[in-house]
Symmetry: D2
Subunit: 140 residues, 4 copies
């Protein structure tokens, strides 16, 4: 697998297409087949008690696999999520960012599959895991 | 299955525990084993092109099964999502609310399972489907 | 959605392509968008205690959505499963066949999505539910 | 995570509780949090064309996480699968066993979660991935 974008390109592109969430997601490292994404946790991501909400962790998993697909296909790729599974295993710790480690398991002509494990920053036991399928429409 | 709350109770309770999203989710009908939830689509739920984002649909599915669990167990229930699967099948139509039809498939002592089909308001073909498992901790 | 095959055609075709499981799966009814499939439970499907094994229920869910896809596209369709989720909610009752009620939620050009609820024959509470995605390769 | 059984114990125990599939599943290595399971592919696991069927791969994923749970809790554990997701990414190659690499992501009091990646023996690109949740009933 070969990259078409750098991590900095990706961070900028995500801010451009998702202006509402500018500053939330930062690509920390991007390598062939793998990405590490930080989610800067803010008030709107929290549940009572200070834990990060499930939908916020889902959004992080989704953007992580999207970043993997774009990183390998380039920013003109029109990938859309078709399926996701997610397991919530532990409460994220309050006052910490969450970190997603994503791996690209398949990059086919029409489908891409990526796997994500999510951690509270600096904590070893994973908070959640997720797998997402993106559909890649044929180029016109 | 017997209800412990009314739909209006539930809408108020959701606004209370999720103050950031007050006004987004409205319980339209609540019956034994079934709920119909409206998501008032706002700018922060949209993707470029005016379609509702995947994470927003996930949040709707999550709150729909949460409402089913609370509606049957009462507001003191401390249910947490442990697993979800979601399939995105069609683009939601712009300028329309999205509606979730939820069914409670299991309400056990420690696990509840609910199924959700999501539609653009007034459109017959479903936009997404999702199944979620909630864990119900034992009462202290 | 329009049918290309009858239920009897489908039962015969399944026996033809899966000779190892001839007689296990019977299409009871096939309608536009919906199928009802019986699994004749045999010794090799059982776990200690007489309950139907999880992998056997998975096989039933898989063949049910396969039948829906073939019923609507015709037997030359080369559909392959790309993703499945399954929830096991109750133990199947011993000494009863299991019945799958399948619905086709999407039949697109390249992806089909079907939903299945599984019951012990004659028992109202569902045993399991599953959603499967099939990929439909372009015709050569 | 500490082990209660050896890999050889586990292989014997699986043959004992699943007499119908004796000889199919072999625990190759068992370490804290991780297992490697071989499935000896036989005729009944094959689809036309010689590829391993989806339900057979599901059965392998299921038994792999079951082995992880038993390996850490001991053979008296009454764990049952409550949920699974599986992605089929490539056709298994004919004439080769399939190998599952399982990891235990969570071993809680009432729920265990394990992750599995499946390969054709000797081939680097994964054939499938799966995540399963087991429910662990309280000891009587």
């Amino acid at each position: 697998m070969q990259l078409k974008l750098t991590g900095a390109d990706l961070t900028n592109y995500l801010a451009e297409v998702f202006p509402q969430i500018d500053g939330t997601f930062v690509v920390e490292t991007l390598d062939p087949g793998a990405v590490r994404m930080r989610m800067r946790v803010q008030d709107q991501h929290l549940r009572p008690g200070g834990t990060v909400s499930g939908p916020s962790l889902f959004a992080l998993a989704d953007v992580t696999v999207f970043a993997l697909v774009l990183g390998h296909l380039g920013r003109e790729a029109l990938a859309v999520t078709t399926n996701a599974s997610i397991d919530f295993m532990r409460k994220p710790e309050g006052g910490r960012d969450v970190i997603a480690e994503g791996r690209l398991l398949k990059l086919g002509r029409s489908l891409a599959v990526g796997d994500v494990v999510i951690y509270s920053d600096g904590v070893a036991a994973p908070v959640a895991r997720s797998t997402l399928t993106y559909s890649i429409p044929p180029k016109r």
